[in-house]
Every structure is written in structure tokens, then in C-alpha cells.
Amino acid sequence: MRKILIIAGKELYTTYTDLNALLLMLLTPLALALIIGFALGGLGGDSNGSDIPIADIPVGVVNLDEGSSSTDVNYGSVFVDLLVPGEGSSGGDALPECEAEEDSANGQGVTLEDLTEGVRLDDPAEARRQVDSGDLIAAIIIPADFTERIGYGQNDPVEPVSLEVYATAAAPISSQVVRSIAEGIATQIAVGTIAIESNIDALVAEYPQVFASGDFDPDFNCAFTNAYAPLSVEQETLSGESQGGGLGFNPLVYFGAANAIFFMMFTAQAGANDILREQRQWTLQRLLISPTPRIQIMLGKLVGTFLTCVFQIIILFAAFTLVASIADGELSLIFGTNWGAIILVILAAALAAAGLGTLINGFVRTPEQGNVIGSSVIVLMGLLGGTFFSVGALTEIPVLGVLPFFTITYWGVDALTTLAAGESGILLNVVLLVALGAVMFAVGLWAFNTREDVAS
């Protein structure tokens, strides 16, 4: 055991004192994740910065809103009317209709109908099931007391209300879009209510005779649309998105995790490839000549690679958290706070990556072969596993759709985004990653042990 740790310690030392290795291991994934994060918005305080063309996101809308007890207003219907094509006023009156204006507020000419493909559902469980099965990207579930708590027509202050957005982690960008839409609609309803009520109160006080005459036009509130549309409400007024299993997506979480795992696999590949380089420079033979069993040498290399990967991913996660905190202006634990589970996933992913490196380099003859084949496998796993784009679209393609499930990237990223969303269902991910790592290491070790050319 002592010699295993000595070899592992040497691996760690040589890796973390190599400037080139550090650039590749730490700076590159950090830079890539930040670039992607800024490109997609969600960093730097501007969440509208995305220029990714997203359209026809399948969304389920479950309106359980029972409306106002004192009026026939039903704010939940606003979601249905806006998101579900062909739906008119449903289940009560939404806000009195305003004529759609060409190019509403931002001038981009993109409508909700372009963005989403909504369906109306009645059962929240069915909606969640369709999200789980991949039929829907997200489901917006409006609670029964939604209108009542916002309090249309009352002078009570707006109460926080839970609005559930149940979304798949497999399509984080689309999920974020749906979440933003839901938040935007709800916020505008709340702000509009406040604005209308305050203005009407002022008008009633100023012109009581007008309102006493009975000629009040219910479409009057449309006059205020442009006034309140740019307003924003603190997210705390709508707590539903971060409660009850909803997805709190941050591009840095997904692409940070994906890039960290992607580059960790390169680190593992380089670590395993180091056996072949040591063979070329004869330090491996020198180790084999020493009174150290071959299995201890191999285990030492594996442990060294494994620990290198673990430290790499921990450093990257700390860096991503720091960046997110700077962007948010406060400590932002974007990967969640389930530390035990996060560490477990990191260990499992590192083991799987080290196993993959051992497997590849157990069968190749030269470091160059190992690099070419290893890099190809890792890039392929990255592509299929969601490093560069969400695998949500891929999983809908027959045959190809199962490929992500054979990648370390997919299971690692899935586990980490699950934990970031506040969920804890990662057991399958961890078991699969550990099993993958153990099997690949065993096969790679066997292949290396059966080689006769180690002395050449």
C-alpha cells in the first residue's frame, strides 16, 4: 500500500507542477464553460443574451387555478391562453384582452407561439410523467390559489405564490426558456395588478364622477401595458421555481459540469498514457526491476490518475462557483449543497475516467496511438454525452438516442445537474459510473499484464 501511495504521490506532484498540464486541465475547461455561459446568458446579469435559435419547445400547462372568489378573473388562464395555441379565454376570464401589438417590448419579433408548442393538461402527475418520458421539455403547473393569492381587485399586498415548473435536466436551455417564460408571465401579472390597482385608486380619487357613472371600460387597463411591462419583480415573489423539484438552471452548472468531466477524461487519458511514456523513457522498466509487484505499480498509477482527476474537478467546481458568485454578487452554490452526494459523483466519475484511460492504454502500443484513440473516444463521448450541446434532442433519435447512456459524460453531468436542481436521485448514476470504471480498469490491467513487450 505504501508503494502505491508513493507512486500516486509522484503522479500528483508531476502533474500539478507541469504548467502545460495545468493549462489544459484547469484553464481550458474554465474558459470554455465561461464562454458558453456568457453566450447563453445567465452570467453577467443579462439573461437575454442568448442567440441560440430555440423554437417549438413542447410545454404542458396544467391550470389548477380556481380563480378569484370575488370576480371571474382567473390568472392561470393567462398561461393557457398565451402558451396553448387555439385556446381562448378558458375557465374564466383572464385579464381583459388587449390587442396584440406588432413587436411588443423587445423589438425582436419573436412570439411565445414561436418559442413554445404548448398543450393543455389537466393532471399534474400526467404532466410530470410526460416530462420524465421526454414527451415534454417542461410542465407549468399553476396552483389552485394562484389568482386568490395575487389578489386581483383587492387592496391586499401580493402574496408569494408557488408556481411549479417541472422540467427535464436533459434539455437545460429549453428548460430555462420555459422557466423564464413562466416567471415573466407571472411577474407581469403580479406587477400589472399592482400598477392597475394603484393607478385606478388614484384615478378614482381624482375623478370619482367618471367611475361613478358606470361608463368604465374594462379594457382600460391596456393603457398601462407598456408602463408596467419593463418592470421586474424580485424572484422571491415567485418562489415556486426553486421549490418542489423545479429546475434552477444556470448555464454554468450544466456546461461547467460537462466541461469539467470532459477535460477530466483527458486528464485520465493522459495519466494512463503516462504508462506508455514511462515505458519509452524506461522509468517503467526501472520500476518493474525494483522489488515492487506489477499490480502495485499499476494501482499506483491508477490512484495517481484518479486523485489528479478528483482534485481537478474540485478545483474547477470551486472556480465555477466563484464565477457564479461574482456574477450574482453573493455566494452562489450553483452545484447545490448536497456535499456528500457531489463528492460521491466526482469520485465515481473520476474512477470511470481513470478506468477508461487504463482500458485504452492497455491495448495500444505507443503513447501516440493512445493519444489518438483516447482523444477520439473522449471527444465522441463528449459529443454524445452532452458536453457541447444538450443531449435532449439526441435521445429522441432512434438507435442514436441510446448512445448517450453509454458515456461517462452523460451519467456524470446528469448526476451533477440533478444535484444542482436540489434533487438526490443519483444512485443509478453512481453505480453505473463505478461499475464502468471497475470493469474498464480490470480489462485494461489484464491487457497490460499480458504484454510481453514491456521491456522493449
Binding site: 508531476t14 522498466q285 518493474l288 510481453e452 521491456a455
Partner: protein, 328 residues
């Protein structure tokens, strides 16, 4: 009791469907405090033999024991008794000399203050105390060689294998390495198994020499005993211009009573694009026979460019035993 005993070592490789016997039944022993050289041309099987003795290559047949421990049955015990200085610079280039010594020392079970003290001794021995904290990749070739040797000596082995340790070093470093080998025997009473294709090195430092060719050990003994095998014959090396030597000249030289053998080798002439030919004549009383032999060459119309008389040495022994020069 010998510190190393090799018995009938055989190594067969399968290459392209054919069986290649790289080592073919080699047996020898090395006594304590003895320098034993394996002398042979490149590809003769020296490194494969060392590989089997050091546990790096599994023998197809035969056994080797170090201090009574079989390298195949008790590899850990056997390896504890031996140090290896490979032909390659087997060091981590991005670690310092001291870090390399410390790492490999720990691989031999050393540690703590004992290891530090021993590293100091070895650094002193290889004369690199002042560069101990510099990375290996900043060292000259000779300095790397010295560290390479130092690693092999760190755990005070009873037997040190040195596989062509002077390959690619300058004359000054070569001299230093040869002196180091002699000190290992004389000061530290270590046994050294030294492989080389350079006759001069083998002749200078060895107590006994094993001559190896085509995977077989063709002669073993002290330098003096081996040279006696070729008697009093000198080698006359006559360098002539051109690629061809008239057959009549060859016949006339061979017919002389004092000539026992004649070899003709075609070699590139140093500093010239043309090829030359060497007539290597094994002859008794070389200096006395030289004028007559040169006259024969001249009579045949062949131009002599240089002449050298070499007294009996291990190269002559190799030539005598194999019919070819050691450098082939």
C-alpha cells in the same frame, strides 16, 4: 558462492510466424566483488540476457538466481539484492536529481533519515551534490548518466547490472563512468555485471569476460586467458583504395606460412565519399611480416592508404572465434 548464477537461459520470440532464439542456452556466474563483462556486438543478446536476469523478461527456459533467490520464483527477494543501470536514461526529466533518487529509493523500501543520508552519499559518489536540486532535463548527457548510475546504487545492492552505460557519452564522462565501476568493486565490494560492445572497456575493467554472439556465450574467462586462445598472432589491418582486391593477392597472402587467416572488409573511408577495403591479416610476428606483405600488395597494383599493427586483444579473440569483427 556466486552472487549471480544463470543456468541455460533461453529466450524465444515469435516474429512473423517464425521462432527467433534471441538467447540460446546461456550459462555463467558472477562472484561477489567481481566485474564480469558480457562482450558482444549489437544484437548479440546481451540486453535480453540482462532483461531475464533482472526479472523484466520471462525466460522461455532456464533460471537465474541472485543471492540464492530465483528471479522467477522469488522475484521480490532477488530484486532487493540487485541494482540496475539500464542503457537508457531511466529518470523522470521533470524531477530533480534528489527527487529521482528519493522516489526510486522508496521503491526499494527505503525511507526517512536513512534514505536522506544515503542520497547524500550517492550524490557525493556521483559528484552531483551541487546540482542535486536541479531538474534532470537541465542536465548534460554525462550528468544524466551519473544520476542513472546513482539510482542503481542507492540501496547498496550486492550485484549491479550495467547495460552499456557509456553509450553516447563524451570521453571525459566515459572515463568517469569506468572509474566509478572500478570503485564499486574496489571500495564497496559490489559485484558488477557489465555489458558492452566495446572491447577496450571490457578489457580494461573486467576480472572475467563472457563473449556473446548470436545469443550464445562462446567464451568465458579472464582477459589474459581469452587472449591466449589466439596465441601470439597480431592483426595487421591494411587499408587499401578501391572496392576490389585481386584474388591473386588474396591467395598469395593466405599461402604464407605465418598467416593463419585473412578477412576482407569493405568500409567507408573516413572523410571521403569513396569506399575502401580493409585486409585484416592474422599473422605471427606482425611487425616482421609487414614489409613482405606490403610488397605483395604493391606488386598486385593495389594502393595502400594506411597500415596498423594490433597486438592480441579481445577483438582478436572475437575475430578468431566468430570470423567477424566485434563492431559488425
Amino acid at each position: 558462492m556466486p552472487v549471480l548464477q544463470a543456468d541455460s537461459l533461453v529466450k524465444v520470440y515469435a516474429r512473423n510466424g517464425e521462432q527467433l532464439r534471441a538467447v540460446d542456452g546461456i550459462s555463467f556466474h558472477v562472484d561477489e566483488g567481481e566485474i564480469f563483462s558480457l562482450l558482444g556486438p549489437n544484437g548479440a543478446g546481451k540486453s535480453t540476457t540482462i532483461g531475464m536476469i533482472s526479472g523484466l523478461i520471462a525466460p522461455t527456459e532456464g533460471t537465474a538466481t541472485i543471492g540464492g533467490h530465483s528471479i522467477t520464483a522469488e522475484p521480490v527477494h532477488a530484486k532487493e539484492l540487485m541494482g540496475v543501470v539500464p542503457q537508457e536514461i531511466a529518470l523522470y526529466p521533470n524531477l530533480t536529481a534528489r527527487q529521482n533518487l528519493a522516489f526510486f529509493g522508496r521503491m526499494y523500501g527505503m525511507g526517512g533519515a536513512g534514505l536522506d543520508k544515503r542520497i547524500d552519499e550517492v550524490l557525493e559518489f556521483i559528484d552531483l551534490v551541487d546540482r542535486q536540486n536541479d531538474r534532470i532535463d537541465t542536465f548534460s548527457g554525462g550528468m544524466k548518466r551519473r544520476v542513472n548510475i546513482g539510482v542503481g546504487l542507492l540501496h547498496k545492492p550486492k550485484l549491479v547490472y550495467m547495460d552499456e552505460p557509456t553509450v553516447g557519452v563524451d570521453p571525459q564522462s566515459r572515463r568517469r563512468i569506468l572509474d566509478t565501476v572500478l570503485r564499486l568493486r574496489d571500495e564497496y565490494k559490489m559485484a558488477v555485471l557489465y555489458t558492452t560492445h566495446l572491447m577496450e572497456e571490457s578489457q580494461e575493467i573486467s576480472d572475467r569476460v563472457g563473449i556473446i554472439d548470436n545469443g550464445r556465450l562462446i567464451a568465458v574467462g579472464t582477459v589474459e586467458a581469452l587472449i591466449q586462445q589466439v596465441g601470439e598472432e597480431d592483426r595487421l589491418v591494411i587499408q587499401v583504395d578501391g572496392d576490389e582486391v585481386p584474388s591473386s593477392l588474396v591467395e598469395m597472402i593466405k599461402q604464407r606460412e605465418d598467416v593463419s587467416d585473412l578477412r576482407i572488409e569493405h568500409r567507408e573511408v573516413e572523410g571521403s565519399l569513396t569506399k575502401g577495403t580493409q585486409l585484416i591479416v592474422l599473422v605471427r610476428g606482425g611487425r616482421r611480416a609487414l614489409p613482405a606483405l606490403l610488397q605483395l600488395v604493391d606488386d598486385a597494383g593495389v594502393t595502400v592508404s594506411s597500415v596498423e599493427v594490433r597486438e592480441p586483444d579481445l577483438e582478436a579473440v572475437f575475430l578468431h572465434l566468430t570470423g567477424k569483427a566485434l563492431r559488425d
